[in-house]
Symmetry: C2
Subunit: 610 residues, 2 copies
């Protein structure tokens, strides 16, 4: 049991849900009663209307909802009440039916790219958890309407392959725990697993392989009748996959999809294939082109219960990328967009980086109806506050809100989180909301502005290393020289831009039309290139890094003005110190890096080290 | 027991020394008998003359030697016979009385910077070894006259601190095993250890601390009467030391020296102190100056049984450094030079790098009488051939030969190793000898020529990363810009050169006088600087990297012509493939790095990638 009970944005729910609340309706009733007691409000009526499914309506002092809708309605009512607002009266339904958290938890208890402590449910190669904490997590997920939890890392490491084998009874027990919160489980699987069971091949067209997976699926759904499905990372970063057998990813995915289809399961297939052993000398290969090249030709070949899960950008969760062109190329394929709450490249839950403003931008370029689902890599762990930085909870909260309404105002979402979490005086609430709203812009400026990706330290992905990836195998290069920087991805360059629909091509294909924040993603530009505002590229790089660092320092001052409760106040302050140190390092390293290359002095005479 | 018995340069000693040979004289007699049987020669007479100590004389078919001298004489006679040569008839004595191997073995069985497998005597936090293999090692060490083995890493990690405490009986057993080979044991100690025993401080001036170490020394020498002494890494890379208590390193070393003095022990103190948390922005601090600044003021303050062990260069085992100025500054201090057989920065026992030519150069600049001892970090491990690359054994062999005669011809030493190891036809023996003789020049050219250090990958120290250290904390920068590269360490620069005696200052202080191979160590030069041979600096950098890589490829061809026995032939070939791949990577990465910076084209139009 954790020493300090931390309740994230639900401090008013100060009594834990008891284990005998074994349906969403019972949880809803319990929460309403307990929450209203804490808030000193009368308890509203709760009505079940199975036809509403996940939807709910609040009117006349009553909450009506479907099987899980009643639970979502109860939380919506309570959170509105706690915030001193009125819950909306119209029928509320989630935008996407599948709203998934992908946990990169390993069975040994570590979490790949985890920044909030060890796994909440694994340790020593097996399940190991505090039921109370998991019910707290179930409440958090349900309160923002998230409904699928993939419990293990997409890189299936020992003994996570046992989740769907020897550990099935334990998986069923975990599913029982989360079921009352409307959360269904999913697991990442190892495509080559039949080999470990004497099948002799993992070829998706082999009848023995197909039978093995069908029998496996039958066993899983017998143990967990509402199991959600499988998540697969295949032929990616040394993972096994259908390429070994000369099969396409459609053939690989469909084989698994057919095993889970009879049970209503989905097969989520990650579209994250690229050459992770690229020769840096090879300028013809360009990693951002890889997913489109692999998947676009397969459009129309995937079964209906396959969901192709595509990262938002063509690289890998960078601070700024254009939307992945694969998301426009698969009109006849069910698509999920993959987000990442874990701040792998975005500050590692030390630096502030609230994501809703970024996600909201995606809906400008990609109508959300192009997607059937949304997934996010978890930022959760065993830390008392679940997310390392207490403010990182805003991304989990915000993800649920986004998954219900991708058009929601990020400002309203983040203000809502701030209000529920801290009930600060109005001016302080605005200060905190502004900090969150600006956090990405600040981080982007002091790290890699203008669409310049991958300037982090290899392996740790934290802190500056402007050349760290230049001669490595990851296909992630800016090729900065004494004259110019960036990759020419235009039609006359390597042609990446041609993967986009025509209107987007036009927007990206010339340096003049291309938005500043993606200039160096699409173009190779000389340092003396003059931007629309009259500044040179090099001056803009310097200015951004000075401004970004100043922005971090200003956030540090703003943070001091907030009357946060402990331990959040100390935790946020301690992380802010590290963020400011990080921002200064970025400012100086990147400015020096480009100064050594370009020889250009800062027009404003600020300090750039030799 | 290892599957294949590998006997390095002693293939004719094909019977293991039995455990009942418990004195050097008995080992000598056994080896002579067994060796002569294998070589089909009459057994020479063996005479003990204790007055000769480690010395021996061979004349009239008899070997006369002191307690260990008889053993050294026996091996010298056998090796000469096996090589078809005559052993020298004059009295032979080692140049330095202490000829030490420093093992960086951890109690958990790992070896820091080890490239030949796991520890030969540690596993799982305790001693664990194959006695037969250790006697093979004892024979190897004795055959080249090495006489001290420090068994644990200078970074004393758990449970190595127990070597001089709970594990003392086991240490004594190991000492018994090596004693017949004339090898005495030493251990690295943790300066702060009294704290773990309730002393409350580790202040060297505290009487309780002094008493603790005295009592410890008494216990050690009771268990191991010929124990050699302690090796200490203090106040270095986060190790504890006297600075914690405001004491000098003389005060710290002398305290320990006085504990071991009554037993005839030595206290070896590593002069490896620098700021390993340097801010890269701080151009005033320069790591190569650190050891001199710390130790030169202490000259004359160390007790007689303290040996200050100084790395050969002021940095850390780079492919080319000027001799450490600290070695000239300590006329009233007993000094040891520290070499490194483990090829940490010199190819990691994948790439060939025979060291005798480099060591021989040291004697040109530093008369060996300035030293009282020599130490080398071990390149040994549990691999069947003891050294990973079978040719890396040449460095262990060569170190013994160097320690006996620092003026010996490197060519003769390496040819001797080749002949003993392989008995190749004359032309092939010359090919192999030439490969070894040229190996450093080749490696230097394709990695970091002209005194340009630290262009390896941080952490692994293998493979190119020209900017890997530029913004890091290690004090290791070349600060390459679009115009120039290198650090100005002249009198008008940061003054490092002033740490040298006057004649060396003159040699290094101007770019014209400075030898090419140290040009960029002492000077910051523009790429268009014209070298003595008329080439520009940038052209010389390109040429070196092309030539170095071609040199590695040529070695690969040469290797194919050698009729080596298996498994040496396969092992060497497999490593040579990796070396050539490494050399190509270095060539292309470094050339591209400097081409991007300088914009200069190769005068000969060879391929430099963008």
């Amino acid at each position: 049991m954790s020493k300090t009970i931390r309740r994230a944005w639900l401090p008013f729910l100060n009594v834990d849900v008891p284990r005998d609340c074994d349906t969403p309706e019972k949880v809803a009733a319990f929460e309403l009663k307990a929450g209203c007691a804490a808030l000193k409000l009368p308890v509203p009526a709760l009505k079940l209307d199975p036809a509403l499914g996940e939807g709910y309506a609040i009117s006349g002092g009553a909450i009506t909802g479907g099987d899980t809708g009643v639970l979502y309605g109860a939380y919506a009512w309570l959170m509105a009440a706690a915030a001193g607002e009125r819950a909306p009266e119209s029928l509320q339904k989630p935008y996407w039916p599948l709203r998934m958290i992908n946990c990169w938890d390993n069975a040994d208890g570590s979490i790949e790219r985890g920044y909030a402590g060890r796994s909440l449910w694994f340790e020593g190669g097996d399940f190991c958890y505090d039921e109370g904490r998991l019910r707290q997590l179930g409440r958090m997920l349900a309160s923002v309407g998230l409904n699928v939890l993939c419990v293990n890392n997409v890189n299936v490491k020992a003994e996570a392959e046992l989740l769907i084998e020897d550990y099935l009874p334990k998986l069923a027990k975990l599913a029982d725990l989360f079921r009352p919160f409307g959360v269904r489980l999913m697991t990442s699987i190892d495509f080559s697993r039949p080999l470990a069971h004497g099948v002799g091949t993992a070829d998706p067209l082999d009848p023995g392989v197909q039978r093995w997976w069908r029998e496996r699926a039958d066993a899983i759904w017998r143990a967990v009748p509402d199991f959600a499905g499988f998540l697969v990372k295949a032929d990616s970063e040394h993972r096994p996959g259908p390429f070994t057998y000369g099969r396409t990813h459609a053939e690989g995915a469909n084989m698994l999809a057919r095993a889970v289809a009879p049970h209503g399961g989905v097969l989520v297939w990650r579209a994250f294939v690229y050459n992770c052993m690229q020769d840096w000398r090879d300028a013809a290969t360009d990693r951002p082109k890889a997913a489109f090249d692999t998947y676009a030709p397969l459009d129309g070949q995937f079964d209906d219960n396959v969901i192709l899960q595509v990262k938002y950008g063509p690289y890998d969760f960078q601070v700024r990328e254009p939307i992945s062109p694969t998301l426009y190329a698969m009109k006849r394929t069910r698509l999920a967009m993959e987000l990442q709450l874990a701040q792998e490249y975005t500050g590692q839950q030390i630096d502030l980086f609230a994501m809703n403003p970024m996600w909201r931008e995606f809906t400008e370029d990609l109508p959300p109806e192009a997607l059937c689902a949304v997934a996010a890599v978890s930022n959760l762990g065993r830390d008392d506050n679940f997310t390392g930085h207490p403010f990182a909870a805003a991304n989990l909260y915000g993800f649920g809100r986004y998954a219900w309404d991708p058009f929601a105002s990020p400002e309203a979402v983040l203000r809502g989180w701030a209000r529920l979490s801290y009930h600060l005086p109005a001016a302080q609430e605005s200060t905190l909301t502004d900090m969150l709203m600006n956090s990405r812009a600040v981080y982007e400026k002091y790290t890699a502005s203008l669409g310049l990706c991958w300037m982090v330290r290899p392996e740790t992905h934290y802190g500056p290393s402007p050349s760290g990836y230049e001669f490595d195998v990851w296909g992630t290069y800016h090729r900065a020289s004494r004259d110019a920087v960036g990759i020419d991805r235009t039609a006359s360059g390597n042609g990446y831009v041609l993967q986009y629909p025509e209107d987007m091509r036009a927007r990206y294909d010339t340096p003049e039309a291309c938005p500043d924040n993606l200039k160096l993603f699409f173009h190779r530009l000389r340092y003396d290139y003059v931007m629309a505002d009259g500044r040179t590229l090099i001056q803009r790089l310097y200015d951004d890094h000075f401004e970004g660092c100043a922005g971090a320092e200003a956030m540090g001052e703003a943070l001091k003005t907030l009357d946060l409760p402990e331990p959040d106040k100390s935790e946020a302050a301690e992380r802010m110190e590290r963020q400011i140190k990080n921002a200064r390092e970025w400012r100086d390293v990147v400015n020096t890096f480009f100064h050594r290359l370009s020889g250009a002095d800062d027009a404003r005479g600020r300090k750039i080290y030799e």
